[in-house]
């Protein structure tokens, strides 16, 4: 390999290491990015690349990779990860491999280092979590480890930035180093368990040699008799570094307790879902007022021609009706973030492995399913930690049934319609119930699909659950909050675009052709005239034409073309449903806030020409049921296709879930009616 720096080529540095060893934390530090780092093994599922920050003055790209335990893969996805390390299809072969090694897990993590060195990679070891090892009273002698392994070893802390400069220097030195042989020896070591055990034996002796008491000064190597004694004492005291973190051991007595564990699990899960409704209330009120104020002001300034109508009704109300739900989404992301970063999720996964395995899933499905409550897209990507193919496909299949945050605005609106407004806690309970209903139905569907698929696929099945339980830590509030805001920003950007465009399109469809209807003006107030005019205009609009085309499908559910149009627009992205409703039903423009005036017009809406109320308890409940099941998000379909590698699963999702949604809505509405509930 020639001198890379003089060739002016951009070098490639790949971060490799066991799960949860701090790769992404280091990657963020070097690239100035803010990728997701959480205290759960397997949080990174894909290679991601970035230029190393200019301030480090090194001309290189850095690649973050999914955690691997060994270069001998145990699952197809692990194989892709490992193969990409030897030669990434897009980014090529790494010039340097930086291996993160958790200092408090030395004997386990050196195993991968050994494999990498034996495969002829240029290795720099980045020793992380030195603070954790120090808490146990130890430190690693960098000099010794470096001379034993015959490669550079640097202590770093990706969280504080300590040691990053030295790591960069070491990388620079290695890039200039010409003494390496060419060529990578792909798995030059043997697969046999004999070799594996030999490798571990070697590592154990290394560990004993390099672990020294935290008090000893490793750098100047002076032999201080007192300190030397201390060192000997520690090393002879029964390998206390081989004990897990004390705090974690204590807490696990409760969390992994037979009965308390279950109790805590339920408390955490129910708090998560009910607090979404309760905590967000005041903030939602403020946003509500703000947007109705903006809409009125805009209408006053721009007049009540088509332009004023476009601005106030089309744009401001459309966007506002969705942003109102931002506080709830923020709270959901915040709580999930706190749970993730504390280290609890891995325990949650362990706790429900058994019940999930009964219906063809895996404990490792838990975290993807849980993130499905935020958004199905990252959730489907997170299924890559599931090694078993059948379990992974099944998890992907049912993820869209988790109530993602885009459904929140819809449920919130429909629940607000059903419940008396003076009892917000009732809404919380109903929401929790909807979530529960969604979960239970998805479990039922999963077990049915499992039975079904077993008969069809007849695959040989090595279902497995082995998961490292990371040490607990107090979640870093700053990290969690930054990530929450980043997620919210993405939501706003996505919602902002989709909803803005669709709102304008919908507004156009509902406003034009702007017929000037003949209305009986006599004996009516001005407000009534405007209202009449608006409803005439809508029922002659293009949207009405479209809606009437699908009305035969809506009628059996007790709904009309207006809900039909809202539902169709929700197939692009669910949250659009609310802004569509706002456009179609918000006919009056009174002083009330956005949501209340929409609720008012929903209450007074009637199925055309019949005098029958459109939104009743029965139809509104039916709508909720529809949204629980229907597969309505184009981005989810796309990611499902990508991750499963074929159209089978996404097509099944579209047809099966939407058919279930339609049928159950039909049954709900007519069932309720049969019981006299209208």
């Amino acid at each position: 390999m020639k001198d890379i720096l003089t060739e002016n080529k951009v070098s490639l540095i790949t971060l490799v290491g066991p799960p949860n060893s701090g790769k992404t934390t280091l990657f963020n530090q070097l690239s100035g990015k803010n990728y997701k780092t959480v205290n759960y093994p397997g949080s990174t599922v894909e290679y991601s690349i970035s230029r190393i920050l200019n301030k480090y003055s090194i001309n290189a790209n850095i690649l973050d990779s999914p955690g691997i335990i060994s270069l001998l893969p145990s699952s197809p996805d692990e194989k892709i990860s490992v193969d990409s390390l030897f030669s990434h299809p897009k980014f090529g072969v790494p010039d340097i491999v930086v291996v993160t090694v958790d200092a408090s897990q030395l004997s386990r993590h050196l195993y991968l280092v050994n494999q990498l060195i034996n495969s002829n990679f240029r290795v720099v070891v980045a020793l992380t979590m030195n603070d954790l090892l120090k808490r146990k009273g130890y430190q690693v002698s960098v000099q010794k480890l470096s001379s034993i392994l015959n490669c550079e070893v640097i202590k770093v802390n990706g969280k504080s930035g300590e040691g990053i400069d030295e790591l960069i220097k070491a990388i620079g030195r290695q890039l200039k180093n010409n003494s390496y042989e060419e060529g990578r020896a792909e798995i030059s070591f043997n697969n046999s368990s004999h070799d594996l055990l030999g490798s571990y034996k070697k590592i154990e002796t290394i560990e004993n040699e390099v672990l020294i008491s935290a008090g000893v000064d490793d750098k100047n190597g002076t032999i201080d008799i007192e300190k030397l004694n201390e060192k000997l004492v520690v090393l002879n005291s029964g390998r206390s570094f081989a004990r897990p973190d004390e705090f974690t051991l204590k807490l696990d007595k409760i969390i992994l307790h037979k009965y308390f564990g279950l109790l805590i699990f339920f408390v955490f899960m129910s708090l998560t879902f009910t607090s979404i409704f309760w905590l967000a209330e005041p903030a939602m009120e403020v946003i509500n007022e703000l947007f109705s104020y903006l809409s009125e002001e805009a209408a006053a300034i721009a007049g009540d021609g088509w332009f004023g109508n476009l601005i106030s009704n089309g744009i401001i109300n459309g966007v506002g009706s969705v942003l109102v739900f931002l506080p709830q989404i923020l709270i959901l992301f915040l709580i999930l973030g706190l749970l993730e970063d504390s280290g609890y999720l891995a325990r949650g996964a362990m706790l429900i492995d058994k019940p999930l395995s009964k219906i063809g899933l895996n404990g490792k499905s838990f975290v993807p399913l849980l993130s499905g409550f935020a958004c199905a897209i990252p959730a489907i990507m997170a299924t890559r930690t599931i090694a078993n193919k059948r379990e992974r496909l099944l998890t992907i299949f049912i993820i869209p049934l988790m109530s993602c945050s885009a459904r929140l605005p819809i449920y919130a609106l429909l629940i607000a319609f059903l419940m008396p407004s003076d009892k917000p806690w009732l809404g919380g309970i109903v929401l929790a119930f909807i979530y529960l209903f969604g979960i239970l139905s998805s479990l039922l569907i999963s077990s049915l699909a499992n039975k079904f698929s077993k008969n069809i696929l007849k695959v040989k099945d090595n279902s497995s659950f082995i998961l490292e339980l990371p040490a607990y830590r107090i979640p870093s509030l700053i990290t969690v909050i930054t990530r929450t805001f980043n997620n919210a920003k993405q939501y706003i950007l996505k919602a902002g675009h989709v909803i803005l465009y669709l709102s304008v399109i919908l507004w156009f469809l509902t406003y034009f052709p702007d017929t000037n209807p003949d209305i009986q003006i006599e004996g009516k107030t001005e407000d009534e005239i405007i209202q009449l005019k608006n409803s005439e205009r809508i029922s002659n609009s293009y949207a009405a034409d479209l809606g009437k085309f699908i009305e035969p499908v809506m009628k059996p559910m007790g709904m009309d073309w207006r809900i039909g149009v809202s539902l169709i627009s929700a197939f692009a992205a669910r949250e659009v449903f609310v802004s569509a409703m706002a456009l179609i039903f918000k006919i009056t423009d009174d002083e009330d806030n956005l949501q209340n005036s929409l609720l008012e017009s929903m209450k007074s809406a009637e199925i055309e020409g019949t005098g029958i109320k459109l939104f009743t308890t029965a139809t509104t409940t039916g709508l909720i049921v529809f949204f629980v099941f229907a597969m309505q998000c184009l981005s989810t379909v796309a990611i499902s296709r990508k991750e499963t590698g074929s159209w089978r699963i996404p097509l099944l999702q579209i047809f099966v879930f939407t058919a279930i949604a339609y049928l159950l809505t039909l049954i709900t509405v007519n069932g309720l009616r049969a019981f006299g509930i209208n």
Partner: protein, 72 residues
């Protein structure tokens, strides 16, 4: 021969052997369960499966079926 799945809560043992026939056995060894290591059974769930074992300073949750190939 007894295996890790027979351990009671809080019980310690030294690993004697890893059953090579199980499909997960290599992964189990790669995670640090090797003969000579001490393991401690730290907890379980209401369903008694999986169990949490400590090995080499970390905690690993593992199904009973797979723990059965860790002979003690």
């Amino acid at each position: 021969m007894k295996s890790a799945k027979d351990l009671k809560l809080g019980e310690r043992a030294i690993i004697k052997d890893i059953d090579n026939d199980h499909p997960s056995s290599r992964r189990i060894m790669e995670l640090g369960f090797t003969p000579g290591q001490e393991i401690v059974m730290l907890g379980s769930t209401v369903f008694n499966d999986p169990i949490a074992l400590s090995v080499r300073g970390t905690i690993i949750a593992i199904r009973i079926k797979e723990a059965a190939c860790i002979k003690i």
